[in-house]
């Protein structure tokens, strides 16, 4: 076909397009895939990310089922021990240590949901220029 659609055909196409797009928009934008607290329990490692460097924060995180948060450095020594709470609605980890509070959150990509971590060491609100680069954490064990 090189010419335009007939009015009737085009009218049908427009209606089908509009209805289809509205339905698709509804389905796509529905909230889904929010992890529960039980699902985020586990051990995580921070893998190296291109160009972002290692950063000063510990790279091994444990979210224990009893609500204990532990961050270990590369030697395995405990650097931070605090309590954690998962905000399912926001997909956000609350930690009693101010440096780690609001730092780990749920992010989605084409392969599903992951936890990711803001790597700048400053507490969130002390960092006005918004150094909010993040790395996706690698889950080691549930």
């Amino acid at each position: 076909m090189t010419g335009p659609f007939s009015d009737r055909t085009f009218g049908r196409i427009v209606i089908a397009f509009a209805v289809g797009l509205a339905a698709l928009a509804f389905l796509v934008t529905r909230r889904s895939g929010h992890l529960s607290a039980a699902e985020v329990v586990g051990s995580y490692d921070r893998p190296p990310a291109p160009f972002l460097g290692a950063g000063p924060l510990p790279g091994h995180i444990e979210l224990r089922p009893d609500g204990v948060f532990i961050a270990r450095d590369s030697s395995g020594a405990i650097r931070i021990q605090a309590s954690w709470r998962w905000d399912r609605e926001e997909g956000l980890l609350h930690v009693s240590d101010p440096v780690w509070d609001h730092r780990i959150r749920q992010r989605q990509d084409l392969l599903g949901s992951h936890l990711c971590m803001r790597i700048d060491p400053r507490p969130l609100l002390d960092d006005q220029p918004e150094h909010d680069e993040e790395v996706v954490l690698e889950r080691l064990a549930p």
Partner: protein, 550 residues
């Protein structure tokens, strides 16, 4: 011939209608996560929001045009967004701080709409759909939306006013194509309005107008075409006059009051951390991407392969924003003790923002070319991919599928989360918000607060109450910030170490002291100069000079 012409018109209308439908679909997909990101937020964490709240309160309290931070000074910041916000507060009754957050997803819809219209005028409807999909869902990646153009819930001049620049581009292209005088009047007026909105896009569009004028004037002069020369000069003068008239509310202050004599250069020296040499790896992290590769391919197509004259404006846009970005960066690098003070304009990242907007258009051109090549290869016979019914429907469905697949990534991207995460953390500071409300409600317009730099940003900046000094980047660029800051530090030290600060307090018309509750014990002389405590909660104490030494 006439039947064929009518068919072409019908075909164009059909393509246009389908393109608009897909654009609306994309707009819904972009709007929903932005709208969700501001739900239940009534106070923004960003210093920009605090600064803007101060300007809006100044307007609402009948002090439009006055600097809400420094006593006796004029408002120096581009006012258009504050005017819009003040109007919306009047209409809706929503408190200032909440409105600045809640109105963002709605007001900022103007940006993608203007971007779509601009790319439509440059490239046609289908390519506009493709390019707008890149603008909305793909180019932003994990950078903040104040550094990279896209639709965003943040109601900030740098983001909101991109809409005016895209409209400027449409008007500039139309004006230089048919050279009618009224078009230049409209173009100059919108450029002036853009200046009231944000300086960076206004400077870029003025430079584009100058370059395009020279592009017409120089060949006309060489050919001794007096008529074309006269028309070109007349149009440039009309555009310039319209610009000045439209920008007059701000120009009267910048030129009339301050003579454009910038003393505090901190504002335009600010450099987005990803653009500094020390954080060059972060620049690479954000810019080594397939969308950037597409943009470079689009640039190659436009300038090395096809060179369409219709893309002169786009070429000017790319070159001028890159040149201005480099210049602004050089200004910042050279401005150090013993260095060189070049005239500055705005922070370099504002030009990076507009360079990236042009790169998005180039990426769209590259994607469109890929589609053309694919159709040529796959179609059994030669067809025009931009008018053939099956090709049109196929490309639109592909765009719909790509945006839908990208949605989970887009909806949980750093920019949206970062904004909401900060606002949520900020909303936990209820004592501090109570202090800000009290200061705003109980201090008079001309009262002046002495506080340290951190407190001058929060809780002070959004209250529209005067301070001795605030952060240099938020301070009036036409006042000597170093002197104000030195006076502020001197008076605060005296509250700890003692000393007579009566003259300095009087010189700066200081009426109140704001300190952290935890700092009070370390300021034994505070009660001498500020004898009466008028506010206290878990976060802050406010004292007044009333009843103290003169």
């Amino acid at each position: 011939m006439k039947v064929a012409g009518n068919m072409a018109v019908v075909q164009q209308r059909q393509v246009a209608l389908l393109s608009v439908l897909v654009f609306l679909f994309m707009l819904i997909l972009a709007f929903v996560p932005a709208w969700r990101s501001v739900q239940s937020i009534s106070w923004g964490a960003s210093v920009d929001f605090h600064r803007d709240a101060g300007f809006v309160r100044a307007i609402l309290e009948g002090h439009s045009g006055e600097d809400p931070v420094t006593l006796g000074e004029r408002s120096w910041y581009t006012p258009l967004l504050s005017w819009i916000e003040a109007l919306l507060v009047r209409i809706t009754g929503i408190p200032v701080d909440a409105l600045i957050i809640q109105a963002g997803p709605f007001v900022n819809l103007l940006a993608p709409i203007a971007f779509f219209l601009m790319t439509w005028s440059l490239l046609g409807p289908l390519r506009a759909v493709m390019t707008t999909a890149i603008y909305l869902f793909f180019f932003i990646g994990q950078e903040p939306s104040w550094a990279v153009p896209t639709y965003s819930p943040r109601l900030m001049a740098v983001i909101t006013m991109q809409a005016l620049f895209y409209m400027d581009i449409i008007l500039a292209r139309a004006a230089f194509r048919n050279r009618r005088a009224w078009r230049f009047v409209v173009l100059g007026s919108l450029a002036g309005l853009t200046f009231l909105g944000h300086a960076a896009p206004a400077l870029l569009i003025v430079l584009i107008i100058v370059v395009d004028t020279l592009r017409q004037l120089i060949p006309a002069a060489r050919a001794r075409d007096r008529r074309l020369m006269g028309t070109t000069v007349r149009n440039a003068l009309l555009a310039g006059a319209a610009f000045v008239l439209a920008a007059l509310p701000l120009l009267t202050t910048l030129v009339g009051t301050y003579g454009m004599h910038v003393v505090n250069r901190s504002g335009f020296l600010y450099t987005y951390y990803a653009l500094t040499l020390s954080d060059g790896r972060i620049f690479l992290y954000h810019n080594v991407s397939w969308t950037m590769a597409l943009a470079l391919a689009g640039g190659w197509l436009v300038w090395m392969r096809f060179r369409p004259a219709s893309h002169d404006v786009l070429r000017d846009w790319v070159v001028l924003s890159a040149v201005m970005w480099a210049y602004a960066y050089v200004v910042a690098v050279l401005d150090r003790p013993g260095g060189i003070e070049l005239p500055g304009t705005v922070p370099s990242f504002h030009y990076y923002f507009y360079l990236k907007a042009a790169l998005i258009v180039l990426a769209g051109i590259a994607v469109a070319r890929l589609w053309e090549l694919s159709v040529q290869r796959l179609a059994p016979r030669p067809i025009d991919p931009w008018t053939d019914g099956r090709s049109v429907v196929a490309v639109l469905l592909l765009v719909v599928a790509a945006c839908s697949l990208q949605y989970p990534v887009y909806a949980s991207r750093r920019d949206l989360f970062s904004l909401r995460n900060r606002d949520l953390a900020f909303s936990e500071r209820t004592d501090e918000q109570a202090a800000a409300r009290w200061i705003q409600a109980h201090l008079a317009w001309n009262d002046v607060v002495l506080c340290d730099q951190e407190l001058s940003i929060w809780p002070m900046l959004g209250t529209a109450r005067k301070m001795v000094a605030t952060a240099s980047t938020m301070s009036n660029p036409y006042r000597d910030w170093q002197a104000l800051h030195a006076a502020q530090r001197g008076m605060l030290h005296a509250l700890t170490d003692g000393g007579d600060i009566s003259a300095t307090l009087n010189a700066h018309h200081v009426t109140h002291l704001l300190i952290r509750n935890g700092d009070a014990a370390g300021m034994p002389h505070a009660s001498r100069w500020f004898p009466r405590e008028v506010f206290r909660n878990a976060a802050y104490i406010v004292r007044t000079r009333a009843g103290g030494p003169p």
